[in-house]
């Protein structure tokens, strides 16, 4: 993992010279600005930061960051970033992807990167629609969604990205929202500090093909009712006056939302992202209904597990430590190993 050094960088240093070409009003602008203004805080030199993306609107992201970057192919960013991260532990490697890129064509690579716990920070911009291909439904679109490719409504059930990541053994799982810069940056900070894969779902508005998909989570008149802001080691209450809370009902498998006044305060779940058992974070991920009520944001899960990068490096380092002689001498020894014979 890239180590921080004393540096005086600003948001401006992370802006590339390329003209940003997302649609006016796209949620991606807010995320880009939040990331660019957050990066200096990490005190990692620009040259040691790499953004790798796949294909889709969000995947244009690397072009706008004045760091190293690769805009690769559809769905494959986690695989490419894995090879880079494993072979270059000195780098800070970020993957920028979307709901189609990460969960549809690239679903396999996403789950395996999370399972291995590769040292990647994965930012999934979820707008619940295909934007770049102009408006088909995505793997996070609601059942019955009417789009260009589903004129009478989608027959597909959607993925819950957080549940999927947790099922894939992710060690860091969080959710945030494009328009809430402060919250977004707090989640990015936690993700950057995490050793291993950090999976961050960012609800992002596509104002062209799926405008207002997350409006109830943003509108000041509704957001407090809809959002559960998770705070580590704090009782989970929400609503304008904390009138609702999360409890673990006896005999049940998951978590439920109740009126705070109706429960014993001792029964209110105190959030702990470090709980080893993933069932807790999974239960949190299942709280929202189809109407987005009870949507948790913040860090659901953050546990320690050695990264794939570290484990691979340990094997290589220990093999190298046992070797003697120059690489050429070792090679000569390898070539002559096994049954050899000499002809004079």
């Amino acid at each position: 993992m890239a180590e921080p050094v004393a540096l005086k960088l600003t948001q401006k240093d992370f802006k590339s010279d390329q003209e940003v070409r997302w649609c006016p009003g796209c949620g991606d602008y807010a995320i880009l600005a939040a990331v660019q203004s957050f990066m200096p805080e990490l005190r990692i030199p620009r040259e040691r930061t790499v953004f790798v993306s796949g294909i889709g609107c969000s995947s244009r992201f690397p072009y706008y960051m004045n760091t190293y970057g690769m805009h690769s192919i559809h769905g494959r960013a986690p695989a490419i970033a894995t090879g880079l991260s494993v072979s270059r532990p000195d780098l800070s490697v970020w993957v920028v992807t979307g709901d189609g890129d990460a969960l549809s064509i690239g679903g396999n690579h996403l789950i395996h990167a999370l399972r291995r716990n590769v040292n990647l920070k994965i930012l999934l911009f979820n707008n619940r629609i295909y934007g770049l291909t102009k408006g088909q439904y995505s793997p996070t679109s609601e059942l019955g969604k009417i789009t260009k490719s589903t004129p009478v409504g989608s027959a597909d059930s959607p993925f819950n990205p957080l549940s999927l990541a947790l099922g894939a053994e992710a060690t860091f799982v969080a959710r945030t929202i494009d328009s809430d810069r402060k919250h977004l940056q707090s989640v990015l900070r936690a993700a950057a500090e995490h050793q291993g894969s950090a999976f961050v779902e960012i609800y992002q508005n596509c104002n062209i093909f799926n405008d207002g998909a997350f409006e109830t989570l943003k509108d000041p008149s509704t957001r407090d009712e809809y959002l559960i802001r998770l705070e580590h080691r704090q009782p989970i209450t929400f609503g304008a006056d904390g009138q609702r809370c999360v409890v673990h009902p006896p005999g049940g498998f998951g978590l439920e939302v109740r009126e705070t006044a109706s429960v014993d305060p001792a029964d209110i779940v105190v959030h702990d992202a470090t709980v080893a058992e993933p069932a807790y974070a999974f239960a949190l991920s299942r709280l929202p209904g189809l109407d987005l009520r009870n949507t948790p944001i913040g860090v659901l899960r953050q546990v320690e597990r050695s990264s794939y990068d570290e484990r691979v490096r340990e094997q290589t380092d220990s093999a190298k430590a046992k070797a003697t002689g120059t690489p050429e001498e070792q090679l000569a020894g390898l070539l002559t190993s096994g049954d050899t014979w000499t002809i004079l």
Binding site: Y68, V312, E328, D339
Partner: protein, 615 residues
Amino acid sequence: MTKQVRQLDRVVIRFAGDSGDGMQLTGDRFTSETAQLGNDISTLPNFPAEIRAPAGTLPGVSSFQVHFADYDILTPGDAPNVLVAMNPAALKANIGDLPRGADIIVNTDEFTKRNLTKVGYAANPLEDGSLDGYALHPVALTAMTIGALADHDVSKKDAERAKNMFALGLLSWMYSRPYESTIRFLERKFAARPELVAANIAAFKAGWNFGETTEDFGVRYEVKPAKMSPGTYRNITGNQALSLGLVAAGVRSGLPVFLGAYPITPASDILHELSKHKRFGVTTMQAEDEIAAIGAALGASYGGSLGITTTSGPGVALKGETISLAVALELPLVVIDVQRAGPSTGMPTKTEQADLNMALFGRHGEAPVAVVAPRSPSDCFFAAIEAARIALTYRTPVILLSDNYVANGSEPWLLPEVDSLPDLRVEFATEPNGDDGKTFLPYLRDPVTMARPWAIPGTPGLEHRIGGLEKADKTGDISYDPANHDFMVRTRAARIEAIPVPDVEVEDPDGDARTLVLGWGSTYGPIGAACRALRQRGLPVAQAHLRHLSPMPANLGDVLKAYDRVVVPEMNLGQLAHVIRGRYLVDAIPYNQVSGLPFTAAKLESMLEEVVKNG
């Protein structure tokens, strides 16, 4: 009893049995003993894709053929002089390849009514006279092995399993092989179980002694060492040699090697081998799929490693999109295709050369890459280094087309001096290359190699973005400019075409041939053997063999046009012939076999004889 010893110049033995009979191991040991003696050798394993097909059935037959001689040989031999058949299925599956008069050693204990019926023998071929044309040696291999191990502390099952060592002992006696390496091997293999070491050695010696005492084998044979260049040798398979070549490329370039691979027959052995060599800075990753395997390799190349992916045809199909990305990114990448019989799953353990079109043309857009093919097991070592050299020097994907025949076949390899291997060191970009001294232009090319700078992440001041979108010349910025796209497409083609590769050499000892045989890849041995045989009979024929399929050698057109006839034998339906016709307007005569087996020299010889004589 002193037995007669007869000198032979060459012998072909085929060990055949059930998949569980240990025939690959038996053949491997016999080969190793033979190598120690100094014969030239060529081997051909042939086994089913099923790990354990039902015992005693035809699909379950596994065989290993070894050809050894007192002169240099090019193939594992067309027809066995000796067949060791461990059961009726092995006899039935292989008898068709045997010339009359060949020795057949059978394990009579397996010729039960049930086993005979299983493979469709109505009568016992050992008794019905159908093998009268052969020198049949019925041996109760199983019973004698169990008998020899009666005093050993092993189960009956373990005793029975040692019958392959009895067979090896018998054959080792027949051909006067030194057996010390086999004893050492058994001591290593069963180190944890000393009783099995003792039992297997006892079975081996029982087989040896049986040969010496029985009257059934009246003659013992010798094949004198071959005249080979001085030096140290080892017997090596193509997949082993290829793996060592990749390790050597890492050492000679000074770069870490990163292999991304997904298991696939017949390429998996390269992953297995490279995973043992971490001390050389080799990282192997068994990826979740073929696409991830090449993606990770490309990611590692981007970071400054020698990125490699190994697979077979179906995997190359899946990797196509990433190869095209690597073409656009202009990064080094070695893609190894150990070809097998297709299409689709085809015959995973059988050989074919039918991925040439895919290697040359099988991508979307104009996506040229370099293509290299090894011609023999030991040549896989040098071909791997050559693929790495081109990838690193010219910053391009290179496809290395091995195949099952060279991958699993083996031959003696004169070990090279490490210092004699090419220097593959590269220079990463460290400074801005723009005229103003401040700007970095990721697509500004080296005037000699036409390669762009390799500026790896971590290099201050060279931060830049690359991707699959078309790039503007020099700056690498996204560009939809029509003239720029036309220029970039032509430049990517021209830079591959401009990679210097050695001229193709023509073997025509008397210089009077009017027919040229042009091959590529693993057909080198059978074509060479056929040409030699024709020349010995006074029929002139020239041989040229392509190692570089893209770009092709600069002199190839002139070579082709210097002959009246050009014959192109291939284990496909004429893929190289098609390219030759298209590029050089030469009326090449295709000769094709897609049986999953390599050409026999005899078959090529009779075909070429027709061409040479009749034009």
